[in-house]
Amino acid sequence: MSFRTKLLLIVLLTIFASVTVVAYGVTHYTQAAFEEMDAERTEALVAQFKKEFVQRGEEIASQARNIAEANITETMAIDLSHPNADLSLYFRDANGAAQGHGLDFVEFVKYDGVMVSSAQFPARVGYKNDWVTSVKDWNDSQAFLRKEELPDGVLLSLTVVRANNTVENKSLYVIGGRRLDKKFLASLVLPTGMRALIYTNLDSSFASASLLAEKGEVDQAERFAPLVEQLKKQPQPIVRTIEWTRDPADAETFHAIPLTGRNNELLAIFFVGSSRKELVLLTNKIVKIAAAVGAGALFIGLLIAFWISARITKPVEELAAAAREVAGGRWDTRIDVRGRDEIGQLAAAFNEMTQTLAAQKESLVQTERVAAWRELARRLAHELRNPLFPMQITIENLQKARKLDAKQFLEVFHESTATLKAELANLNTIVSRFSDFSKMPAPQFARVNLNEAIRNAVRLFEPQFNEVGKPTITPELFLTDPLPEIDADPGLLHRAFQNLVLNALDAMPAGGTLTLKTFEHEGNVRIEVADTGKGLTPEECSRLFTPYYTTKLQGTGLGLAIVQSVVSDHHGSITVTSHEGRGTTFRIDLPQRQAGVTTTPREPAPDEPKSAPSTLAAASD
């Protein structure tokens, strides 16, 4: 990952983290504020319920008082105060009173607690209601919740008791009430998203039908069972959220308020439900806005980060590019120095370094050039001196021969001219060699099978491996097969391998083993040529590829220079390792493909035979 990418990511992550923190904070605090508002709304509704409860009780009390104070009730009280009063005369009166005063429940109870008339349960007439007579004065009492027994079951009613005291010590009690049901719930003004439910706790176990809403039954009423059970155990207000579906927007928060009777028995539970839909929608909206803002901020941050990173990394990239150029040989590379910061100082130091390196390189080249000319002069002097000396002797002999007779002179003359011609030929040969080295051709690349090229080169020297009268040299080939074909000039390669083999043969005058290996190495193809000769000194190794340098008595010193030239023209590398007494190993690494080169199909090497029956002892790994 580049420095610019890293810098870009760091800036982006920083922006993303900042936006996330801000969005979370806004969402969290908005949600908290909304929930607080929702709680206030619920409290308002609960307060309204309590107020409605009190108002309804006052209404009932007013109607019950009206009934108790009516003339017909007074007449009834007087009549019923007599022993053996006829109850049948008043059997239907409660029904009429209930209808006349808009009450759901009206009952008349005698001074002794006997039910005289009941609007809601006429069949209960004659039965005693001792709880009514247990209170001395009902007329100042408040409304209370009561479990009202009906023919079909039980109902919850808001009840008031008033007494007609026309007859002293023989009061006639009027019990008036209204059912606490969905009509009562309908009278509550509910804000949007809120609803009120009431559960009448009249059965021992949870009954879905006992949970009432303003508009009939409640869906999934059984979900309230745990709340009801908890309130039965501990009648304290609780708040619980019910998730109706997997969608959080369908969840509802319920405030459960226990409603108790005169003896603090739990008779009903009032539920105020607040839909979380608005909260969830608001939260989602805020999250979406935060996401949009975050995305925008990230985009802008991306642009800014890109610009910043580009501005920061450009001098570094220029420095890196310049360093790569220096590594590629352009020692005179320079970069622009901008500013005086650390990057600017680094650029100045780089320029100073390349300037120094270029100067040292020029000096080294001059030195090497002088050394090369000296060596060339020495080699030329040496090579030219060899034929010149016989020529000098021959010419001196010819000058001496002028004193001889013609026949002898002619004989000497012929011998001398022959010698001169031979030495001149030698001189010509020497000159041709130097001329050839100076005229190394540019490589013509084609797909080449290295193993075949090596075999062909070795095959040329087969007669010399077992030459009569000379020590035996054993060639051993360890050629990896298959080996990738490479882009190379087959003629130049053949010449290089020929020189290497010849060099090895010269290094083993007492015989030995010539080892050749091919294999893949780090994406290249490696060729190793090893001999078992006496080896070279480190100094000899360092000068081995210098033109005209040789350690042999007979040699121009151009063979390995040609090898290095060929390898270099193939963008490869050649190294030598040698240990005295154990031999020398040349390692050549050649790339498989040449950049920008379109190769032609493989062509046979110049000396490649049509068929290559090998008589060599070859081995391959």
Binding site: S88, V125, P151, D152, G153, V154, A209, L212
Partner: protein, 489 residues
């Protein structure tokens, strides 16, 4: 005339024994059809279509000489085959009737000493079945119109087609118009036409009677006191309807006789009769009323709530009503049976026997937990209308209709009241059926109704009734129910 029955059928073959609707059916059928004979208020059998009758010594064969020149409403003559064809499907099992010249002979393998009571009551009307299924009679009136209130389509086909079955629609009331039969053998009735409205609510009937919109209405017992306070003419019959509880095996608990005993001891019949029904009913200890059997006074009402509690407490935990409450289904229609059912529930709960009343509409807007109407009930509150003048036949009908045990007409000697008493006593001791109260029939009469002389067991004689024309407002009342007195031949 206004009746509060929900349905009316003038075909005796469709009537169900003991059903309260049979009382209305009989009253309207008596306008159209005749019986062979009748029983007067003095207990004497009076000839109607039969002028003479005789029997063999064993009471197994009876011969009835038919009145001659009796015509149906279409003018055709009545013959013995008509009588035999009409009565055969109505007679008790084992009784065979055949036509013989101008008489009919009724035979049975068992003695029929109370055949005259049987023929003088209930559904044993003589009719002729028409090809279209309607029935034609020889009575003082015939049906001329059937329709709904506010829309009274004429029904010409009904002119000669008596015995139509009609039912009240989903809303509104039904009307039947009867017209005097000029050809009847007993002489033309005084009234030209009788307009009968069925399905009128009790309070509406009372108002219509007060307002003069009706001359004769059925009165609900709970309105009788009010009608009397309003100075209206009220007539009551002897008790003709029994309200009782019946047990079946729909719930396993009631098979326990002890539970039934506890339940019976908890019942407060006096409050039912004197308070709920405002003294317009009588507590019932027997299945048959005193006027019919003559021995009903021998049965005593058992009420002992403490004893009921003891029995209930002594019942094993696996006994009835320990797991689920008993269910009481009120089978009779109207508010009074419901009220009685609720009172039974209150009484029984006092003895710690849980009981729910089912098959009734939930309270208006009630949020009370209501019982499932589909639940099987083991206790049934039903009404039984006494339709026979023979106590033996009535009891046998009661037993067979309610499946109270083995019952054949030979099980009890018709001549031995002691056997009848023993049989009824045994039935009561088994407590498979518990009588609650017996109610008379109450009729409110308009001020213009004259010669209202019904039988005390509730048989109306409308052919003898006539109306005075009010000094004013006669035109306002219309023709349908303002018939002028006619001349009786």
């Amino acid at each position: 005339m206004q009746l509060h029955s929900q349905t009316v059928s003038l075909d005796p073959r469709e009537w169900k024994t003991g059903a309260t609707a049979s009382a209305t059916n009989e009253k309207l059928a008596a306008l159209v059809f005749d019986r062979l004979l009748a029983l007067d208020n003095y207990g004497r059998f009076q000839p109607r279509l039969a002028t003479e009758w005789s029997h063999d010594a064993a009471f197994k064969k009876w011969q009835f000489i038919l009145r001659t020149n009796v015509k149906f409403s279409d003018g055709t003559l009545l013959n013995a085959a008509d009588v035999a064809g009409a009565l055969q499907p109505l007679l008790l099992n084992g009784q065979q009737i055949r036509a013989s010249a101008n008489s009919v002979v009724i035979q049975s393998a068992v003695a029929m000493p109370d055949l005259l009571e049987e023929l003088a009551s209930g559904r044993l009307f003589v009719y002729r079945a028409q090809p279209d299924g309607t029935l034609m009679g020889t009575g003082p009136f015939f049906v001329v119109e059937i329709g709904t209130e506010g829309r009274r389509p004429s029904n010409p086909a009904a002119k000669d087609s008596d015995g139509a079955s009609v039912a009240r629609g989903a809303t509104g009331t039904m009307h039947l118009r009867f017209r005097a039969n000029e050809e009847t053998w007993a002489g033309r009735p005084f009234l030209d036409e009788i307009d009968v409205t069925i399905g009128v609510p009790p309070l509406r009937q009372l108002f219509d009677l007060q307002l003069g919109k009706a001359d004769l209405v059925e009165l609900s017992p709970d309105l009788v006191r009010r009608a009397m306070q309003e100075k209206l003419r009220v007539w009551s019959s002897v008790p003709v309807t029994l309200y009782a509880l019946r047990f079946d095996d729909a719930q396993p608990g009631v098979a326990d006789a002890k539970l039934r005993e506890a339940l019976a001891l908890s019942l407060d019949r006096h409050t039912m009769a004197n308070v709920l029904l405002q003294k317009q009913a009588e507590p019932a200890a027997a299945l048959l009323p005193q006027w019919l059997s003559g021995y009903a006074f021998l049965f005593t009402m058992e009420k002992d709530i403490e004893r009921a509690k003891e029995i209930r407490a002594a019942l094993p935990p696996s006994a009835a009503a320990s797991k689920e409450p008993l269910r009481l289904r009120v089978e009779a229609g109207g508010d009074l049976p419901k009220l009685l059912g609720e009172r039974v529930a209150v009484n029984v709960r006092q003895a710690a026997i849980p009981l729910q009343v089912v098959n009734r509409a939930a309270l208006r807007g009630s949020s009370a937990t209501t019982s499932s109407n589909d639940a099987a009930a083991s206790v049934h509150l039903f009404a039984w209308h006494y339709s026979s003048l023979s106590s033996r036949i009535e009891l046998e009908s009661f037993v067979s209709t309610l499946n109270l045990g083995e019952s054949t007409s030979s099980a009890v000697s018709p001549t031995d009241p002691e056997q009848l008493y023993a049989r009824e006593k045994k039935l009561l001791e088994e407590r498979r059926v518990l009588p609650l109260v017996v109610l008379p029939e109450y009729v409110g009469l308009g001020p213009n109704v004259r010669d209202w002389m019904p039988a005390r067991w509730g048989e109306w004689h409308l052919a003898d009734v006539w109306l005075t024309v009010p000094e004013s407002g006669a035109e306002q009342r219309g023709n349908s129910n303002a018939a002028s007195p006619g001349a009786k031949p």
